[in-house]
Symmetry: C2
Subunit: 366 residues, 2 copies
């Protein structure tokens, strides 16, 4: 059904695009210097005042404000130099097909006598480059250290050096495949899957594989390992956009679980400069506050911290209306929370045999 | 070189053994009841007074004290019943080839009206069963939720239901394979590896794969993801014992990194009742305190908490003598710590091109 086209692979296209953008940046600086002009850069402003909620796409986005970094201004020279060094550094990474972590970037700068006071400062410059190029840092080979996992019938084709053209089917290792640089940049060749199920916990991921959820529901299963690392959100988006698969999210029945689902779907304010990390059509199918009552789940009382967090999110524009506000209110009303494992009270397979199909049915009407 | 023998697979043997032990336990209780005798059980005591350090094997072990749990004593009936229920529950797991987490066990008990106040209580009973059978809980299919990863030329053969006889080579996915129930119970079929390199961090794991450390040093690479989950320590032991591979451990250059290496090698006081989770011949090859000076690594000052932890470990019998005490003293002397990523100051490949071969050479004389 979904088979690889003969056109240029999407992964290769992304790589070419980021190289071109980096080259353009370099050309611009170079030609300004060549003309005897002080080089400058205009960056979308990431200040809180410029982060606005877009009702239509239901995401935080950046407003119209820009900041100028000019080498004419002595105060700008430090962040300007850091940014240009970073562009040079990641261009090398992309050319050589090497990857790096945020932490590596911080230390690597020292080799070039580029000073960052701490990693917070280098992270910030990396985000500047993301905003400038409208590309996620994963596109220029800077990956988070955390990894989550995937399992199911999806054949991929690697594009990283040494593995180009090699294929792997992601159903061959039942403990799951880490989602790192090579999987994030692989092309999707073929799948029989009809949906993606993202679950919050490794234990449940293993349960789903054991109970053959991938066959019974024709699903790719992803363990987000809590709030998913960015490369996993990126992967979820690719599965949704490139393969047209609906994404269903299953979390613990508490405010943190609800927020994990929200970030997968709508992104975070901190990444308002990026569109590549969201799955706007994704659905949070549980565990809802109302499920705790409906399924008579073992539960724990809400703590004061839980309650405070619920009130915070009730004010968040992403949580206005729909199940989002309704379930926050339900948690408050029953003052309880439940974990995914709580279904084990009704047998280890209750969650896959009864709860999951019922919630997938309900999801159709969400 | 290391190829699968035609005898019964080690994984199958372990499974058969644990089933037999559970059956024996059931038979004992049954026959006592049949004779009209109050059933009782003798457990190795896990009290602090019975945890002793064994100089010869350089591990904490349990002493000779036992505790009796008799159904004749009304105070014993609760933990006795819990233990017998657990034996019943895990016997079903093993028979059906299903796995479970510590958390699942806690909730599953509720289906049988077996009461545990909290998960701490059910975890404790699980440890009792480990001590009683001298088996790790992984042997009766109770796994930690955390997963770490492996990469390299090792062909495994699965033994879990639905995958029996299927083989996979662990060099085929460069982001790494999760070490979960199916990998932990797989048989090792063939490898060209001559060592195991366990690294503390995912970023470095990816670096090692990119720099082809697995080929250059004929190594299997394991990401312990900090203090490794028990299933990973179990895996390290199996690679060491069954394939005869030396295990080298690379951590951050601080007291926590040193302790990660120590726990892989010598185990923990909390698991003094088990031998299956240690690699007595393992070597901690770095980052040592003395390496921070020798390699002029970027470093951070020790915090008060770091210093307190160093003094604690200096009193621990596992840290008497050798590099263990020496490096604790060195950290104290220079009052500095360094991360693995600090090598990036000298280029992303300095750690694989220069540091690793030098330390592997030194390891030969450790």
């Amino acid at each position: 059904m979904n088979s690889k086209s003969s056109e240029e692979s999407k992964a290769n296209y992304r790589k070419r695009e980021v190289k071109m953008l980096l080259k353009e940046l370099g050309m611009k600086i170079y030609s300004e210097m060549d003309k005897g002009v002080f080089p400058e850069i205009n960056l979308p402003s990431r200040s809180v005042r410029n982060i606005v909620y877009d009702e239509k796409i239901k995401q935080y986005v950046l407003g119209k404000a820009f900041v100028k970094r000019s080498t004419h201004n002595i105060k700008h020279i430090r962040p300007f130099t850091q940014l240009i060094w970073l562009a040079y550094f990641v261009n090398k990474l992309v050319e050589q097909g090497k990857t790096s972590t945020l932490r590596d970037v911080f230390y690597s700068a020292q080799a070039y006598n580029i000073e960052f006071v701490d990693q917070a400062e280098s992270d910030d410059i990396i985000t500047d480059l993301e905003a400038l190029l409208s590309k996620a840092r994963e596109d220029f080979n800077v990956y988070p250290e955390e990894r989550s996992a995937i399992f199911g019938d999806l054949t991929i084709e690697y594009t990283i050096p040494g593995y180009e053209g090699k294929r792997l089917n992601l159903a061959s290792h039942p403990d799951g495949y880490l989602i790192g640089p090579s999987l994030s940049t692989a092309d999707f060749v073929d799948t029989s899957a009809e949906m993606v199920l993202a679950v919050e916990k490794g234990g449940l991921f293993t349960r789903f594989v054991e109970e053959k959820v991938h066959n019974r529901y024709k699903a790719l299963i992803i363990d987000t390992a809590g709030q998913p690392p960015r490369s996993t959100r990126y992967m979820l988006r690719r599965l949704n956009q490139e393969l047209g698969l609906p994404v269903y999210i299953l979390t613990d029945g508490d405010v943190y679980g609800e927020h994990i689902a929200m970030v997968i779907i709508s992104g975070s304010a901190g990444a308002a400069h990026l569109r590549e990390l969201t799955v706007p059509s994704g659905k949070w199918i549980g565990v809802w506050g109302s499920d705790i009552k409906k399924y008579k789940l073992p539960s724990d009382p809400l703590t004061e911290i839980d309650i405070k967090r619920i009130y915070e999110l009730k004010e968040d524009p992403r949580y206005k209306g729909g199940i989002w506000q309704r379930e926050l209110d339900f948690f408050l009303k029953i003052k309880k929370k439940s974990e995914l494992e709580a279904f084990a009270k009704y047998g280890l397979t209750a969650i896959t045999d009864k709860y999951l199909p019922e919630k997938l049915e309900i999801a159709k009407s969400l």
